[in-house]
């Protein structure tokens, strides 16, 4: 995305957050693109709202939950608004401070509602934590135009695996194993 376009989006996003979350303890707002943060996919933006919170893990979580309680509806409305943009935006709310004493920083991630959660008829969510090399593999597939998103690239890779002759044989064996297991 062009720098001027990104600057315009940043300004608009900051204005919207100010209007939609009046009085909220917002420390800062970040709009990140691909390359700024590993979570951002090519062609996607990550809009991050950072809430000011105490350093202590328990207090921090309480402050975050108080924010969620007060602005939960505003948060969902904002998400609906962002869905109208011509590109994908991940909306994320988190707190200041470093993850310490074993407690991770609280994060709310409101993903794009592509057709609403009811539209995924029969699909199963699978979450995988990936290292830099695996992410790069997915992103290469996106850049090359083979896949439209990381999820799509994962599906493409699985289809390729299924096409291999060895996979057919592997599947026949695992079916046999399952079958034998049930006979014990």
């Amino acid at each position: 995305m062009e720098e001027a376009e990104l600057t315009r989006i940043r300004e608009q996003f900051t204005r919207e957050v100010g209007e939609r979350f009046p009085g909220a303890p917002i420390e800062r707002i970040e709009v990140l693109q691909y390359g700024d943060d590993p979570e951002v996919e090519p062609g996607e933006l990550l809009a991050k709202v950072i809430i000011a919170a105490p350093a202590d893990g328990t207090d921090r979580r309480q402050a975050f939950e108080a924010f969620h309680e007060e602005y939960g509806t505003a948060l969902r409305d904002f998400r609906t608004e962002l869905n109208k943009l011509p590109f994908r935006v991940i909306l994320q709310f988190t707190t200041t401070g470093e993850p310490g004493d074993g407690t991770a920083k609280p994060v709310i991630r409101v993903a794009h509602g592509r057709g609403g959660p009811g539209a995924d008829g029969g699909l199963t969510p699978v979450m995988a934590r990936l290292g830099a090399e695996d992410l790069e593999t997915l992103d290469t597939l996106i850049t090359a135009g083979i896949a439209t998103s990381r999820a799509d690239a994962v599906r493409w890779a699985l289809t390729r695996i299924r096409e291999r002759p060895a996979f057919d044989q592997l599947r026949a064996h695992t079916r046999e194993i399952e079958n034998l297991k049930s006979q014990f």
């Binding site: 979570e39 609403g116 995988a128 695996d134 593999t137 994962v154 599906r155 699985l158």
Partner: protein, 190 residues
């Protein structure tokens, strides 16, 4: 998993929920294993609280959020309790009742992954990890599960990593990668 062990875990879970969620509007407690629900991986369990909420969408959301407010702490405690088990357990709280018609929202739901290494635990390289969520068809999920049953991967996440490593090994991928780098570099020069 053996039937006796499964029953022991289920009974313990039902007891824990009873103690930690007094008077909560829970209509059902489920402990599911592989085959019961597509979200459960081989070798994994899912513990689920079905919350009693009205059918009307805004009311539904409000009732679920009020459950979350009141029992959020207890839910996290329950998660820690499950982390002590040897088997990885996915913990979910879902809004009960029939989801409203086609296109209507299913849920809301709340999900806590295990703290220990498990389905979504640390990757092989121990470096910085990034979560990637993909909604997969039955065929794709079956592909991952075949890799687990065959002993090629230890979890669905691990099977995804394995598949990507195979893609990287193909000669065509190297060429593709070179082209993608070239595209990136040209784009920045435009």
């Amino acid at each position: 998993m053996e039937e006796a062990e499964f029953e022991r875990i289920r009974d313990q879970f039902v007891r824990d929920v009873g103690e930690r969620f007094p008077d909560a509007p829970i209509s059902r407690i489920e402990v599911l294993e592989y085959g019961d629900d597509p979200e459960v991986e081989p070798g994994q369990l899912m513990a689920r609280l079905v919350i009693d909420v009205p059918a009307d969408p805004p009311e539904r959301m409000r009732a679920f959020e009020s459950f979350h407010r009141q029992y959020g702490e207890a839910f996290h405690d329950l998660r820690r309790e499950l982390d002590r088990l040897a088997v990885p357990v996915l913990l979910q709280a879902v809004a009960g009742g029939e989801p409203p018609g086609p296109g209507g929202a299913i849920g809301p739901r709340l999900q806590l992954f295990g703290g220990g290494p498990g389905a979504c635990g640390p990757g092989p390289d121990g470096g910085e990890l990034t979560p990637v969520m993909a909604r997969l068809s039955r065929e794709d999920v079956a592909t991952l599960d075949t890799l687990i049953t065959a002993g090629v991967a230890s979890s669905r996440a691990d099977a995804v990593r394995w598949a990507l490593a195979r893609i990287r090994q193909r000669p065509a991928f190297e060429q593709l990668s070179a082209h993608a780098h070239e595209i990136e570099s040209l784009r920045s020069q435009l």
